[in-house]
Symmetry: C2
Amino acid sequence: MSKTEPRTLAGFMELLPEEQILFEQIKNTIEKTYQKFGFLPLDTPIIELSEVLLAKPGGETEKQIYRFQKGDTDLALRFDLTVPLAKFVAKNYGNLSFPFRRYQIGKVYRGEKAQKGRFREFYQCDIDIIGDGELNTMNDAEIPSVIYNVFKELGFDNFTIRINNRKLLNGLFESIDQKNNSTEILRIIDKIEKIGKEEVIKELKELKVTDEAIDKIIGFIEIKGTSDEKLEKLEKLGINNDTYKEGLEELTQTVKYVRAFQVPDKNFNVDLTIARGLDYYTGTVYETFLNDYRELGSVCSGGRYENLAEYYTDKKLPGVGISIGLTRLFYKLNELKLIQAKQKSISKVLVIPMLEDMETPIEIASKLRTKGINTEVYLNDKKLKSKMKYADKLQIPYVIVVGEDEVKSGVVKVKNMQTGVEKEMSILEDIDESLFE
Amino acid sequence: MSKTEPRTLAGFMELLPEEQILFEQIKNTIEKTYQKFGFLPLDTPIIELSEVLLAKPGGETEKQIYRFQKGDTDLALRFDLTVPLAKFVAKNYGNLSFPFRRYQIGKVYRGEKAQKGRFREFYQCDIDIIGDGELNTMNDAEIPSVIYNVFKELGFDNFTIRINNRKLLNGLFESIDQKNNSTEILRIIDKIEKIGKEEVIKELKELKVTDEAIDKIIGFIEIKGTSDEKLEKLEKLGINNDTYKEGLEELTQTVKYVRAFQVPDKNFNVDLTIARGLDYYTGTVYETFLNDYRELGSVCSGGRYENLAEYYTDKKLPGVGISIGLTRLFYKLNELKLIQAKQKSISKVLVIPMLEDMETPIEIASKLRTKGINTEVYLNDKKLKSKMKYADKLQIPYVIVVGEDEVKSGVVKVKNMQTGVEKEMSILEDIDESLFE
């Protein structure tokens, strides 16, 4: 029979078990942290009506989207978790309690150019807080404390959550009469780290921004110092524009409360250069950088939007949220060897039967499982050596060999596979969990 | 602005938070049980090359599959988790340890006719044990013990795992010279519970099976009694055919070891009428029924296949596994009110600040989270009554109101929202977890 080559599509991550165990651990850590802050789980379909997913006209995503017909229906795969959230909240408005705090961890799809480290199917881990009509700045301040806890739990110390507020820039643009260019200017400024100041100036000139206005923009984004110094300098710029003042007030409040939320000063700062490419955000914006690995880019980003579901409902639903692109993060951390698969097995104990009657080996395994200890019984007919090799290869921490002698005596030996130390255990009494620590 | 209606596609489950919490609990219970038996996690892409997913020719699934072009590539969404497993094992053969025990819990897609309780996107929760060249009957016997533990953990008692072996029927067919009709005959027999004996006989006649052969078939599937009595009667039928004898030997062994695996006799039996519609299985087959709710059909099915990945590799990879169709199961259990959402919130505690300075409320929340207690701080500017109403609506079990007095005294009241009882807690010392039990 001719065989089909068992290929996996480029841009689709598929891990071996030991990497998958690690991936699951990281995903669980993120999920548990989200839950600790009381975010509720949500699981929306991966397929939606194209009409619903693309309700917002002119999105960048349209080119990349996986879109197809099934029968007469025009379908698409979700490209983020925010649009499905907007749909969900608009649809179920009457059944939700606000502020509605939800997390969602799931796969999204973007048909990007396939290249190393770029994924077409990837996990996003999102939280959002949605208000009914209003949502105060305290919520903007709580988000960084969730980011902080996630990355601490993942074992990082040297990371910075950068915070800005788009109203500052928008107000600045209004004050220099560049409001109509603001989206385009934001896009250019957002690239300053990548392309440098000169290139930004060049691109702004191409946009026909006046030299005077460019000076103000560059002066603004070059404000240096600690978060407090920056806030002070922003105040002193004396820009007399309502949007600007609102942004400054919000940013000042956010910084104050981020501290109240116990995020250390070393892990966050005001960064006037970040603006988040998407025109989606309307107030606070966040990016998160691992300082020793800046090349990763932002590992957790988000912000405030004044109107989550405006394409579906007249209700005003302001929100604030973040997203972690887990697949790419995992890939990069793995590549940099910052994380490492430590377990090849999910089992803590391998019970190896060396006798005909399986009753005792299975009895031992059941007892261990009751204590919450993952346990596997080696079932195939092999010599002891092969069975031990299996434990070795999968790095199962403890092995218990059960033969006729053990059944007779009621005592087995628990072998620590790393140290080689063997300890006796009675199989007639309750399991002593400390033998497996 | 004109609005798009926020619709979700028919046949796609999308739950409200309280139902989603329950769904997650059930999913986690299944996953934890799979892990207790040492199954390794796997997560394959939802999109695969059509060529790969449809390597097996003439499958029934081809009509239902979600298949589309992206650029020049012919893609399809997975319709089960077994085909991706076969691809994965063939692809990574050299990097896996055998027997390879894996679980996968994920969404699959079938464009079935939309009707109540039928889903086009649904979760499957699969385990499989794959051998390299061989895999003994002990593995067939361990699978029911995993099923048993899953349904016990889910809170069921009155369920039966029905076990059969296809070699018995195949051997029977060989012995009555109906081997070429076997797939078709199996399909007909499989429907006996639904359509009745007379209809089965009628359909067999339409297939031009002789009356004598029909008598044998019916005689065979009508064998009654306990599992042991059935095995005895099968022996006594005296069918002199190797396949039949092999099947009987395997089934006898499986029953013997299922008992060794501590599955009580009340939760399993030999059932000669089940054959699993799919021609996929070659030996042991399983179905699981909740006896008080037979109308649900089998809630967990599977079996033994001699060659998992024959369309991808020459390696012989026998396997045995099962699948739980979780989305449908959840829907049905919910409809029958056998499960009920008990939690509307993921938070155990709501901290309600009634003062300007948020430091103390946040400090309390952080301390609680450190103890693993999910805690939310109410952040919006509302009157106390509104804040309490939020706790009430979400049924958050405990509430701590923090005002100026509490900050001064260093003592807060922990209110049990169900009993109304308030207990004092010092906020200066370590949190006393017993207050939240």
